[in-house]
């Protein structure tokens, strides 16, 4: 009864890719805000990128 669970146009590939895209969105949040507690070193690594795209930094 998969059709009752998944809306029309949603298949397994799309579901997996959607979850992956949400994961990337979270990673982008960690990178652009420089949350070192989540990924050590990410603040310095993405420092120039963060300033380039106008996100608050030090």
């Amino acid at each position: 009864m998969e059709k009752t669970v998944l809306p029309e146009g949603v298949n397994k590939t799309n579901a997996v890719l959607a979850i992956a895209a949400l994961g990337v969105a979270v990673l982008m949040g960690i990178a652009v805000y420089g949350f070192d507690s989540a990924i050590p070193g990410v603040h310095d690594l993405f420092h120039d990128f963060r300033h380039s795209i106008g996100i608050s930094c030090h």
Binding site: N14, L17, A21, M28, H51, S52, G54, S56, C57
Partner: protein, 137 residues
């Protein structure tokens, strides 16, 4: 042939491609405008901007595909720009919130914000053009 089914593979592929092009453009643009001083050299920053750009592009491309029937404009390029700017505004708003919550740690720089806003427009433009081309083929 126009397909009514959602194809995230397409959205993500186009998003990553445009994001990588954009990442390089961001690196070139920001190093030319000099609104802030780079900590690292161009060569060191290249893979970082490529990755960061790909990440943003991926998220944008995925949302483009999922929301494509719900976007406000008739043109693909206008919709891609609107969505790109909207996603950037969300991240920017998070930065403003962090600035308000911890002003000593997160600074707000007007010129950088304007540059970021403009560059988010550019990302939408790149994705929109690639998207339009791929739908015509």
């Amino acid at each position: 042939m126009h397909s009514n089914t959602i194809n995230l593979r397409k959205g993500i592929s186009l998003g990553v491609l445009s994001g990588m092009i954009w990442g390089i453009a961001v690196l070139m643009f920001a190093s030319a405008t000099k609104v802030f001083e780079f900590d690292f050299g161009l060569l060191q920053d290249f893979p970082v901007f490529l990755t960061g750009g790909a990440g943003f592009g991926l998220v944008l491309g995925a949302f483009m595909e999922v929301l494509r029937d719900k976007l406000p404009f008739n043109g693909i390029i206008q919709n891609a720009i609107a969505l790109s700017v909207s996603i950037w505004l969300l991240f920017f708003a998070g930065g403003v919130f962090l600035h308000l919550a911890a002003p000593a740690r997160y600074h707000f720089e007007g010129e950088q914000a304007i540059q970021g806003f403009f560059l988010s427009f550019v990302l939408g433009l790149i994705l929109g053009i690639l998207w339009k081309q791929s739908s015509q083929n």
